[in-house]
Every structure is written in structure tokens, then in C-alpha cells.
Assembly symmetry: C2
């Protein structure tokens, strides 16, 4: 089983890419909707719950862990890899920071937690010290997507306000699982190539499994667990995954 | 001591009104920033943590409880009053639902949890069955205030979009602690009288204490506890309370 977790529902946009790359492999997903959002919480909090969820997924039989939450990837990715050294752990940042290091002018947008951690910059600069990186926390994007306002007047004004200083970029990295839903509106405002790290992560995971046959991943349909059933859960899930799900509500913590 | 709790920082706008009415009385505040927002969570979750926080405040010496969170008031107010029958508990809804029942055309805006509970409508209609009530969940208002976007172009478009069907109201009730910060922008868009229930709650609390001398409330400076230190805590606190605070971070749950 591939264990995937996120602070909430947005991680389903990562599941979508994994299913596209590896359609047969069983996925178990945990969304910590009881404690979302992680993006505005403190780093210790994010570490604590990333650890608990990883343990829970491993206890249920996961052989590989995907940290589908960008905030957890930024604030707890390295910590989890140290804690669980024998488990392959894939996070959103190391999934493509290397691959994108050919670019000179890079924009990164994400939650306050992700941006504040500077994890993306560190990874990119370690591969490409010449890169010119501009970052911006866009805390309104997540509630905007969760409200389903994707291309109305208000959402365009919000996107404009956040990206007003983002000129002459080659690429813009969407460092939050909700942001791909706003891709069309973002493209209307800035000219850069938009990068969704989930696509890179899914490809990397596929290559890893092709090269490591000793890791046995069960076949089967995905299972979706959430620690609470919030407002709009099924609607947001459909927006992120492109299909309906049957959520199982359980808070093991 | 007066124990006040909220899902986060917004409840400080209620503290501001209590301090104005009762400047000497010691207040102990708990903001559940580790688990915020409550407004989009399930009802069982809101009840569970409202109970835990109330117990914690009572253990620290609170003699009166103020439920400064509208979502908790709507989903857990009656439940808390049943659980703690000997403790005076003030919530946001019963603070003024009766006083406002003279109006015919009433608008109510709040979080999805508050609006979905229909608690405000029930209270108003039980006093005034003829009232014509229009409600609207505005989940983007909280992150908007927390971002400090109070009257830019984006915030005006968001307010317009939510209130586009709110015509011919006599009063509009701001049934969320964050919303008073947006009052100026809301007033530019609709003509109704704006009602902040916190002012009614503070007056009611003052009258109660004047009539119940057996309840001994210590004098002293307020203390502010939060279960996590999120993004922008001090900035939002200042926006809601109109002065700076020294937050103490503790998660007892």
C-alpha cells in the first residue's frame, strides 16, 4: 500500500497524479481535516501530527509514505526521513527541486508555513546557487478553492493582489495542493510556465517502484480517511480528484 | 475570573467589549488556535473541544464562562449549559436574539457551522415568529481579516459577492467574531444597521454581575492563552482587541 497524507482534502490532487502514473496500486489516504489548515500553524504542531499520521499509515500496512501536504513536506519532511530511516518517504519539495534547478527566475507560492520555512529555496539553491527566487505566501488561496470560487471577479482580484510583483518569471511553482485548481486564473495574470510538483512526485514514485521490486504494493481501490467531515468535503474532494469519493471519518489521535 | 474562549483569535473582539463594560474584572482567555477554524468543522468536534476548554477554564478558577466563538455558541451553547448547570454561561446568540426580535427584515452572516446550525433563526423566531430572516455563510471573511485585507479591491469584491442578495434589510447581524473588522467595507455595500452581538453580550454580563453579588470575580489584568502560535497571531490580536497582547502558548488537550 502507498500511504498518502495531507492536512486535509487538497492532497487528493496529488492522489490524482499518483493514480494516473500507477493506476493499480492500492492507496490509503489520510486527511487531517480535524486539525487543518497546517499552513498557518506552528512548526512543532506540524511535526507532531505528521509523525502521528505516518505511524498510523505504517500500522495499517503502508510500505511507502507520500507527504502530500506541502507544509508538512517543508516543516517535517527531513524530520520524518530521520525518524523512519528504513521507509521510503516522498515529499513534495524534494520531488522536483532538483529537476527545476535549470531555471534562473523562479517564483514559488504556498501557505505561510511553507514559505516561512524557506525549504524550497534551500533545495533549489543547493542545486543551482545562481537561481533568482521570489516567494509569496498566499493564505487566501486555500479557502478560495474550498469555497469553489475559481474564476469569479473576487478570485481574480485576490490572485492579482498576491501576484502583482511576480514579473519576468520563467516558472511559477504551485507549492500547495489546492493551487492547481486556480491554475487557469493564475495563467490569465502571469505569463510564466506553471509547475505542479505532484506530477513530478508521481513520476518519481513510479520509477522508484520499477527499480525496487522487493517493495510489495497491494493492488486495489484507494481508501480515503479523514479525521473530521468538514463543510464542503465531498465538493472539494471532487474538485481535487476529479471524481467522487466515499470518505471514512476517523480521528485516531 | 471571567473565562472566555474562542476557536482562535477573533474572540478578542468580544474581550474588547467586555473590558469596555467591566474594566476591572480579571479575564482568562483561551483561543484554540491549534484546532481553528471551528466554523468549517463538524458539530461533534465543536462540542468535544468546547467541553474540554470550558473544563480547563473552570479548573483555572473561572466563575463565569463566555463562549466568544459563534460556531461554539451555535453548536455547543445549549449542550454546555446542560453539562454545567450551576455555572453562568453566556453565549453569542442568546446574548441578543431576544433584543433584536423587534425587527422584521433581518440578515445574518457567519461561518458555515453557525449558519448551518440555524441556531440564530430558532432563537429569533421563537420571540418573533413574523421575522423575515435571510442568512449567508461567508467562509472567506475570516481568512480575509486574518490576512489583514480589510478594504482593498479584493476584499470589496468578496463582500459584494457574498452580500449580493441582501437587499432591504433593517439589520445585519455579524455572527462571527472576525466580521466587525470588516464593518466599514460592509457598510459601503449594504444600507442596513450593523449589529455586533459582542456589545449586547458585554452589557448583559455587566447587568448579571450587578444583580449577583455572590459571584466573586477577581480584579486583575487579562491573561491570554492559545493552543498554538499561528501565522499573524499578534497582528490579528491587535486588529481584534485594539492593543497588543503577550500570548501564552499551551495545548492542554
Amino acid at each position: 500500500m502507498i500511504g498518502v497524507f495531507d492536512s486535509g482534502v487538497g492532497g487528493l490532487s496529488v492522489v490524482k497524479e499518483i493514480v494516473r502514473a500507477l493506476p493499480q496500486n492500492k492507496i490509503i489516504y489520510f486527511g487531517d481535516t480535524a486539525r487543518l489548515p497546517y499552513g498557518t500553524k506552528g512548526a512543532d504542531f506540524v511535526k507532531k501530527y505528521s509523525l502521528k499520521i505516518t505511524e498510523w499509515l505504517l500500522n495499517r500496512g503502508a510500505k511507502i509514505i507520500v507527504v502530500a501536504c506541502h507544509t508538512s513536506s517543508a516543516q517535517a519532511g527531513d524530520f520524518l526521513k530521520t525518524e523512519f530511516q528504513t521507509i521510503p518517504i516522498f515529499d513534495m519539495i524534494t520531488s522536483c527541486a532538483k529537476e527545476l534547478s535549470y531555471c534562473k527566475n523562479i517564483g514559488i507560492i504556498g501557505t505561510p508555513g511553507t514559505i516561512k520555512s524557506r525549504a524550497w529555496e534551500k533545495h533549489i539553491l543547493s542545486n543551482n546557487p545562481e537561481a533568482n527566487i521570489k516567494t509569496k505566501a498566499c493564505p487566501l488561496f486555500v479557502p478560495l478553492v474550498e469555497e469553489g470560487w475559481v474564476d469569479n471577479k473576487a478570485s481574480k482580484e485576490i490572485v492579482k493582489e498576491y501576484l502583482k510583483d511576480f514579473n519576468e518569471l520563467e516558472i511559477l511553482i504551485l507549492a500547495c495542493t489546492h493551487y492547481p485548481v486556480l491554475e487557469k486564473t493564475i495563467k490569465q495574470i502571469i505569463g510564466a510556465e506553471i509547475v505542479d510538483p505532484a506530477e513530478y512526485l508521481a513520476k518519481k514514485l513510479k520509477t522508484y517502484l520499477e527499480n525496487n521490486h522487493d517493495i510489495e504494493i497491494k493492488k486495489g481501490k484507494p481508501e480515503f480517511f479523514f479525521s473530521d467531515e468538514p463543510y464542503n468535503l465531498k465538493k472539494i474532494a471532487k474538485l481535487c480528484l476529479n471524481r467522487e469519493i466515499k470518505p471514512k471519518i476517523i480521528d485516531p489521535f
